[in-house]
């Protein structure tokens, strides 16, 4: 997950809430926002310096790039096999073809020949093997290497018993063969993540501090001097880029204090110092009024989801009727209009609308509209009698206080439940969710790493994603609600092993119908929504990418 800072961020940005989840976006521009790409395809003019602010990244070396900020930099310094457009469509970048074998246990990537790193070294299959092996190694202790977990030989690299990646081979300079331990017909989607970047020999080990701060890549931009920690990162156009060259001369990235980055970004934008910015939530309404009129406003639905995570193994929400009662009792519309001032919209599915083909609006029937009578009768059936204690955990400081109170009040009003709100720091919340005896429900959110519904369904709901520690019974995976349904699991396995995209999408939809439609293993609340101000009077071909970052490789002066 590229979540870390995005989260803290959104948290700050969202005084009232936006739940902090993930990363990417895609698609459908929402209510009344300026059309981001209104002037795409305009003739490009070279030159110009684009300025924006980000919070200090964890890393800009692809071995450990994780949150949106680091991804913004790394993705402009490196080009991998594939790219994903803002609407989630996968296409080839350096790959010329991506071919799975019959049972999707082995993938062959043909690589575009003749491209180089900015130091002149060739970008060949060996460069990919080098980059992936480097990130998966034990010393790297990478937070994102797990994206390679499906590749044969990954575990041996992680525990230090191997130094070469068993599943990777480069029979010739332009062919990369990847053997998987788990059959996956969507493996090529993963290669979009920056951890799958090629690196030149000069990179050395993942612990090479010189390269960590000034990575040499093969992307549309290169660094102008090393990363000045907490101060700035400057990119310049890479004129030897092997694909479509960028128009901008420079990108000046100021590094901002993550605690009030949104405020600083917006102030910088107002003062004319930045060309792209987020805003603090309290100023959203005023900012929209000012900048929407000028055409400097971007607004879109991103591919993240906010939901309640009920504990399904034990406690008051063990039965699906109890969970449905909770869901029916919540008036999502009132909260999105009231607390979120209309900047968020109610959700009725787990897989967000951004996944156009897989999206099933209303798959969660109890999410569509509040129904007090149904809520009451289901609650009686489930033994959720008035006065029943219901634990509700959430993280403080993330702007969740207001909506959590609203939900609790609705549950109290409609069902008479004794809702016990428990706010705590984020890391404590994560820990609490993992504990074996955990009951009740938690506030949670998720954003996709790859444009596939499987990236929601698998990590959050598959039985294998509970990943319980044998001795402590702590849930180590992301399925903290410990939902387990064999029918759902087998549909998912079938989906990842299905080559045909339409067929696969159908299987994912069926799986979501079981877990969300019938079992309500997670209770969807509202989708993730993004808002930016951008100087569209000055720039053209400026839009947002899959990671919610500005499209630096295409933007040009007007």
């Amino acid at each position: 997950m590229r979540l870390t800072k995005t989260m803290r961020w959104t948290a700050v940005a969202a005084t009232t809430a936006l739940a902090v989840a993930g990363c990417s976006n895609s698609g459908s521009s929402a209510d009344g926002g300026a059309k981001a790409s209104q002037s795409n395809n305009a003739p490009a003019k070279q030159g110009g310096t684009f300025r924006l602010g980000i919070a200090e990244p964890v890393a800009i070396d692809p071995y450990n790039t994780q949150e949106s900020e680091g991804t913004l930099v790394t993705q402009n310094l490196f080009t991998g096999l594939t790219s994903v457009s803002a609407d989630g469509t996968l296409s080839n970048a350096l790959a010329e073809s991506r071919t799975p074998n019959d049972d999707c246990s082995e993938w062959t990537f043909k690589i575009k020949g003749g491209t180089t790193f900015s130091n002149g070294d060739p970008v060949d299959a060996a460069a990919f093997v080098r980059g992936w092996t480097r990130a998966a190694g034990k010393d790297a202790a990478s937070d994102v290497a797990y994206h390679m977990g499906e590749i044969d030989g990954f575990d041996a690299l992680q525990d230090g018993s191997a130094t070469t990646f068993k599943g990777l081979s480069a029979p010739d300079a332009t062919t990369l063969v990847v053997k998987l331990g788990i059959k996956d017909c969507e493996f090529d989607l993963r290669t979009f993540h920056t951890v799958f970047s090629p690196v030149p020999a000069v990179a050395g080990a993942a612990t090479n501090k010189t390269y960590n701060d000034q990575p040499i890549g093969n992307g549309p931009f290169k660094l102008d001097g090393p990363w000045q920690h907490n101060s700035k990162i400057t990119l310049v156009r890479n004129d030897s880029y092997g694909l479509k060259k960028a128009n901008l001369d420079r990108v000046e990235i100021s590094i901002l204090n993550s605690d009030n980055a949104a405020t600083l970004e917006y102030q910088g934008f107002q003062a004319g110092q930045f060309d792209w910015a987020r805003m603090p939530t309290p100023q959203l309404t005023a900012a929209k009024a000012t900048y929407n009129a000028k055409g400097d406003w971007l607004e879109w639905d991103a591919n993240g989801m906010n939901y309640l995570m009920p504990e399904t193994a034990d406690g008051p929400l063990k039965s699906k009727e109890a969970r449905q009662a909770i869901s029916y009792a919540i008036d999502r519309k009132a909260i999105t209009q009231g607390v979120f001032k209309g900047f968020l919209t109610p959700a009725s599915s787990l897989v967000p609308a951004a996944f156009k083909d897989a999206y099933q609006q209303g798959v969660c029937a109890s999410c569509v509209a509040q129904d007090k009578d149904k809520a009451k009768s289901l609650a009686t059936q489930a033994g959720l009698t008035p006065g029943t204690k219901l634990y509700f955990g959430y993280n403080t400081g993330g702007g969740h206080e207001e909506w959590v109170q609203a939900v609790a009040q609705q549950l109290k009003d409609v069902l008479g439940l004794d809702v016990q709100i428990d706010g705590m720091p984020f890391k404590d919340l994560l820990k609490k969710e993992q504990q074996p005896g955990s009951v009740g429900m938690f506030r949670a959110a998720w954003g996709a790493d790859y444009p596939t519904p499987g990236n929601f369904l698998n990590p959050l709901l598959a039985t294998s994603s509970i990943n319980e520690d044998a001795t402590t019974h702590v849930a180590q995976g992301d399925n903290r609600g410990r939902y387990s349904n064999p029918a759902f699991d087998s549909l998912l396995t079938k989906a990842t092993g299905t080559k045909d995209l339409a067929e696969r999408t159908k299987l994912y939809q069926q799986a979501e119908k079981i877990a969300i439609g019938d079992d309500l293993a997670l209770i969807p609340l509202w989708g993730r929504h993004q808002l930016r101000v951008a100087d569209l009077g000055k720039w053209t071909n400026l839009s947002y990418d899959f990671n919610e970052n500005p499209t630096l490789s295409t933007v040009s002066q007007k």
């Binding site: 612990t207 920690h229 907490n230 101060s231």
Partner: protein, 309 residues
């Protein structure tokens, strides 16, 4: 004098040990795994990675062993490695210390020049309109929270008037003005009040009256007897205040994105990046002890009656 300084330095080591020990114990018994879920991610770190990192930072050792190891490294000037970027703490903090010192110095200059001058004038022209206005303004200013002053200055001078950039190069001297004023303004008001009060007291003192009666020129009385004695409490205050500023002005640095130790502290506390927190605190305690020593030595210089033995 030499022995006094030596003894004070010895005390300093004890204070440093005590302070780091308490801090270390506090930080490492806080629930939650510092390398487990950094920076508030929506997912915890991979258990295998957490295990590797814990071993690398020696977090699997008992607390006492960790502390002794820390002291051993500290004696060699090694403050350890931080948990997010995995770079040496001293390398991360060194430029921040320089930035904070720059800001603190600018603030202190404003404090002393404006605060002392305003206070002295008010005392000399007691009950004049100047005195009344000073008292009124300083009372109001002292009550202002730092973040209000900071946000106000930033919004007016950077966002609206665009006289200074909102975010600038930390090396740009223009960039220091607003945060320095923000830091100095409350202190300057306090210094003014302190200066006024002390001076009024001294102006009434017998030795001043005697000097005036003996016909010593007014200028000489003022500078030799009154001002010199009035700055002693002010120096104590400034010394403590400078120490606090160097320790990191968390709020001001956060508002102005000033890349100093205060900002580092704010960010590190949130992500439980303990090596940075311990590093900043160790430095802060050290500075405080040294400044206290300097202040005590200055006393002796200003007032020969104070003996350092």
């Amino acid at each position: 004098m030499g022995r006094y300084v030596l003894r004070r330095l010895g005390q300093m080591v004890i204070v440093l040990l005590g302070a780091t020990m308490i801090l270390f114990a506090c930080l490492f018994v806080i629930p939650g795994d510092p390398v487990g879920s950094l920076a508030g991610s929506d997912r915890a770190r991979d258990p295998a990675v957490v295990k590797q990192l814990r071993a690398r930072y020696g977090l699997d050792e008992p607390l006492a062993v960790q502390y002794v190891n820390y002291l051993g490294r500290l004696a060699h000037g090694d403050m350890g490695e931080d948990y997010t970027q995995r770079r040496p703490v001293s390398e991360i903090l060194a430029p921040k210390l320089a930035n904070t010192a720059k800001l603190a110095l600018a603030a202190i200059v404003i404090d002393v020049v404006i605060g002392a001058a305003v206070g002295a004038l008010a005392a000399l022209k007691r009950y004049s309109i100047w005195d009344t206005v000073t008292t009124l303004v300083t009372t109001v200013v002292v009550g202002f929270p730092t973040f209000v002053i900071g946000m106000l200055l930033l919004n007016v001078f950077a966002v609206q008037l665009k006289w200074v950039p909102v975010i600038g190069d930390p090396g740009d001297p223009v960039q220091v003005i607003l945060p320095a004023i923000t830091l100095a303004i409350v202190d300057a008001a306090l210094v003014a009040r302190l200066m006024r009060g002390t001076m009024l007291e001294i102006l009434r003192a017998d030795y001043v009256k005697t000097a005036v009666a003996k016909g010593v020129p007014r200028r000489q009385v003022l500078f030799k007897h009154v001002l010199r004695n009035s700055v002693i409490p002010v120096i104590t205050y400034i010394g403590i205040s400078f120490g606090a500023l160097l320790g990191g002005a968390i709020i001001t640095e956060s508002i102005f994105n000033w890349d100093g130790v205060g900002l580092a502290m704010a960010v590190s506390i949130q992500s439980q990046n303990n090596p940075i927190i311990v590093g900043v605190a160790t430095w802060g305690v050290g500075i405080f002890v040294v400044l206290n020593l300097v202040v005590d030595l200055l006393y002796a210089v200003l007032d020969p009656r104070i003996r350092l033995s």
